[in-house]
């Protein structure tokens, strides 16, 4: 079918004889197999272009455009050479179809490269100079060129381009590399910290890494909290009666029912936590929080945020907006939520630190509990004014519950019971 096209185009240039020949050959093609008439077609092209001494190769890229290239240049590429040996490419109607990765822009670049290098006369130095100039292009084009050269099996060009790309990667920080090549930054903090190559035997380096990680997370936390000031509140949905009964029931009764109730509640929380992202493992660190109370649930509940809004990769449980999330609390609660699970630490200075803090806190709580409560409540009132009354026993009655997070609330109650 393309024969017709050819004939059509060259109508003006050719003599009658050649036109007749082409028509004959066209008929031949229609009737018989392609290859027997191949020589006929070849002679046609020679007849049509008698002035050309060089032989040409036709190359077709995936978008359909056909390019004509001098044979000696094109055969610099092994793939084209191969295809030519199997008979393709010597005429426009049977061009060599190049693989998808070779688009016309890349093809012209490659042809330029081949054109220079296939000439044996150039010295090594000249070639080097040419190569240096040749690969000066932006990274995307360089990648495309590498891909195209690889398709055509043009090994010297693949070497040249891959060395250029390596030079771009060498000596740069990961952020720089990501920027150059437009790579997404989608690895988690942990995965980045995971020691692949340099295992730290030195405990100081390990601690340093941990501190850096902690600091980074703290900063992220602060940022997030800043952004999410008014949005994330833990809405304590329980009805007021429930709460009141809880308070009242906790006054005189033994710990039993209270404990069981809170146990149930906390178990629910625990399950919710478990169903959420598995990276949340703050409970280990917080277990020592229970210096005062043997009830673990208080601490588990301290991260209700584990259950909701767990983004992939954020292993740090987000302490949601509550009035307790004040600077004082934030400083040591965020310390607790470390994901140090991947690093084995028997003697962990960080842990010791936590223990000390916890004991300190416990002591303080025990000693001046009512005053503390007042302070906390006052702070809470500043943001969410909540009428609170203290009944005779020193326990609290809370009419509106939006201010406090449930677990800390529970904690107060339990303490008041004591």
């Amino acid at each position: 079918m393309k024969e017709l096209h050819l004939a059509f185009v060259d109508w003006e240039q050719t003599s009658t004889l050649s036109v007749l020949l082409t028509i004959c050959s066209y008929c031949k093609v229609l009737c018989s197999d392609i290859f027997p008439s191949f020589t006929m077609i070849e002679s046609d092209s020679e007849v049509i272009k008698p002035e050309m001494m060089k032989s040409y190769v036709w190359l077709q890229t995936t978008d359909g455009s056909i390019q004509e290239v001098e044979q000696e240049i094109a055969t610099f590429c092994p793939l084209i050479c191969q295809e030519m040996h199997s008979g393709l490419g010597t005429s426009k109607s049977y061009p060599i179809s190049l693989p998808t990765r070779v688009n016309p822009a890349m093809l012209s670049l490659i042809i330029d490269y081949c054109r220079f290098h296939q000439v044996p006369g150039h010295s090594n130095k000249e070639r080097k100079v040419f190569d240096e100039k040749f690969i000066r292009m932006d990274t995307n084009r360089l990648c495309e060129l590498t891909s195209a050269a690889d398709c055509l099996q043009l090994k010297p060009l693949v070497d040249l381009t891959s060395r250029a790309l390596a030079r771009m990667i060498e000596g740069k920080t990961p952020e720089e590399i990501r920027e150059i090549f437009h790579l997404p930054d989608d690895l988690t903090e942990e995965e980045k910290l995971e020691p692949l190559k340099n295992t730290m035997d030195d405990p100081r380096i390990r601690l340093l890494n941990r501190l850096y990680a902690r600091k980074r997370k703290e900063l992220k936390e602060k940022e997030r909290l800043k952004n999410a000031q008014n949005e994330e509140e833990i809405v304590d949905d329980r009805p007021l009666d429930d709460l009141l009964s809880f308070i009242n029931g906790g006054n005189g009764d033994p710990k039993g029912p209270v404990a069981s109730k809170s146990k149930k509640k906390n178990r629910k929380k625990k399950d919710q936590q478990k169903s959420a992202h598995e990276d949340c493992n703050p409970s280990n660190n917080l277990s020592s929080y229970n210096a005062i109370d043997n009830d673990k649930k208080g601490t588990n509940g301290h991260d209700p945020s584990c259950t909701n809004n767990k983004l992939h990769g954020r292993s740090l449980p987000i302490l949601r907006q509550s009035n307790l999330q004040d600077t004082r609390d934030l400083s040591f609660t965020s310390e607790y939520e470390l994901d140090d699970g991947d690093l084995d630490d028997e003697i962990d200075p960080a842990m010791k630190e936590i223990d000390r803090e916890v004991e300190d806190f416990a002591r303080r709580l025990n000693s001046d509990w009512p005053e503390r409560m007042q302070e906390i409540l006052r702070l809470g009132q500043e943001r969410h004014p909540t009428p609170i009354s203290m009944n005779r026993n020193g326990a609290l009655r809370i009419h509106a519950s939006t201010a406090f997070s449930y677990p800390s609330f529970c904690f107060f109650l339990l303490l008041s019971v004591i």
Binding site: L4, C143, R178, K192
Partner: protein, 442 residues
């Protein structure tokens, strides 16, 4: 039919040729390159940099694990410490980690950390490599004594290049040679005589052989039919080639000055003849240290029976006061009709004992047209009569000479000596009208 064809053609013409519009700016193109191309890119980086790419993004997390060449050198461990155990632990951990995470064939393995001594972990790694198909193995132990190589190294049949530094080689009795080995580089090694001979003999494809500072063997019987490049420097008593018809580049340095003639029988051809008997196609020859002394032991003919037609570059370390050495050099010069470049490095005269310095007779200087000799370089001469007569001989017989560079040795006499030398050089007749004599300061 025609109509449809035409239509088809027309349709093709109307097809838009511009590529679909897309934002070329932010697309990550590099991650979609085929695996072997990424391997190539990463192999141009140091191993440490290649592994660092694993934290770039999730796609790149395990791209480095297929990189075919693993090089552990001083850049692999950044913290340098004098404490051997710390270093050893660090490096061992790193190598273990990398080997465990790596997948795919390992083509090249190089371990060359300056602080690493021969730790037994290397055995483990060699065993691991021997199960694969490692092609290049380089092991350099920079500290400590000779490291005894694990026997599994001798099972690596795909080895093409083997390079060892400061190792002890003890091939087992079942060793059959490295059938694919093309390049062997042994420096500061210990090996038994028979083991060495067998090693060379059993590597049929061996093309390059480098030997420096070896002990355990003193007779070098090189039976390597494909050998092209031979470079040795050490202490040996005898060197002989067998079947090395392709050997083109030879550089031999004999570091010990001994009496090499004592083992030779009278009437038999001297070392010179024996040496060149199997080097028909030699192109470049460097005779260093005391090797000329070795060559000059025994009978020295006027001209070698087998002419070295291909020899184009010759460099000789020669003691001009030694008559035998001069004769050997002359013989060699006469047997190399196509020699283009000649380098004569004067060896300072050996101390101790009076030696009767014989003068070369006039007829020894006959038969010496060097028609192709273009460059001569003479280094380290003092200005003795023997040296000067040799130079004179060269100048008279080199009709194509273009440049002769003379650089005398530093001497106590200083400028005096240099003046004498210059005066003499100026007197000499030159056969070549284009000859330049360039005098370089010592």
């Amino acid at each position: 039919m025609n109509v449809s064809v035409f239509f088809f053609v027309n349709q093709k013409q109307r097809e838009p040729h511009n590529l679909p519009c897309r934002l070329d700016l932010e697309i990550d193109k590099i991650s979609s390159l085929p695996g072997h191309v990424i391997d190539k890119i990463l192999s141009h980086l140091s191993l440490r940099e290649a592994v660092r790419t694993s934290i770039l993004c999730s796609k790149w997390r395990y791209k480095w694990v297929t990189v075919p060449s693993l090089v552990f050198d001083n850049q692999s461990v950044l913290v340098s410490s004098q404490d051997q155990t710390v270093l050893r632990n660090k490096l061992v951990n790193i190598v273990d980690h990398v080997l465990l995470l790596h997948t795919g064939p390992i083509d090249k393995f190089k371990l060359s950390n300056r602080d690493l001594q021969g730790v037994p972990d290397i055995d483990r790694w060699i065993l691991f490599l021997s199960r694969g198909s490692v092609k290049e193995f380089v092991l350099e132990i920079w500290k400590g004594h000779r490291y005894k190589l694990h026997s599994s190294l001798y099972l690596c049949q795909k080895l093409i290049h083997l390079e060892l530094f400061n190792c002890l080689l003890t091939p087992p009795a079942t060793f059959n040679g490295f059938k694919s080995l093309k390049s062997l580089d042994l420096q500061h090694i210990t090996m038994e005589q028979t083991a060495f001979e067998y090693l060379i003999y059993s590597c049929p494809l061996l093309e390059r052989l480098t030997l420096m500072n070896f002990d355990g063997f003193t007779n070098l019987k090189i039976h390597a039919p494909n050998l092209l490049f031979f470079d040795i420097g050490g202490v040996f008593e005898d060197v002989s080639f067998q079947g090395t018809s392709h050997l083109a580049i030879v550089s031999i340095g004999l570091y010990v000055n001994a009496d090499y003639g004592r083992n030779l029988a009278l009437g038999k051809p001297g070392n010179l003849v024996k040496f060149f008997a199997h080097l028909p196609h030699i192109q470049r020859l460097e005779i260093q240290s005391f090797f000329l002394k070795y060559l000059s032991a025994g009978n020295i003919p006027v001209k070698l029976p087998a002419v070295c037609d291909d020899l184009s570059f010759l460099s000789i370390r020669i003691n001009f006061s030694d008559m035998e050495e001069k004769l050997a050099a002359l013989c060699l010069l006469r047997s190399s009709p196509n020699l283009q470049e000649l380098e004569l490095l004067a060896r300072p005269e050996e101390q101790g004992g009076l030696r009767f310095v014989a003068n070369i007779l006039e007829e020894d200087y006959q038969n010496g047209p060097f028609n192709q000799l273009r460059l001569i370089k003479i280094v380290g001469i003092v200005g003795h009569k023997q040296e000067l007569s040799f130079i004179n001989f060269l100048l008279i017989n080199s009709s194509a000479l273009e440049k002769m560079t003379v650089k005398p040795a530093t001497s106590d006499r200083g400028w005096e000596m240099q003046k004498e030398l210059l005066k003499e050089l100026l007197c000499f007749r030159r056969a070549s009208i284009n000859a330049q004599i360039i005098y370089q300061d010592p």
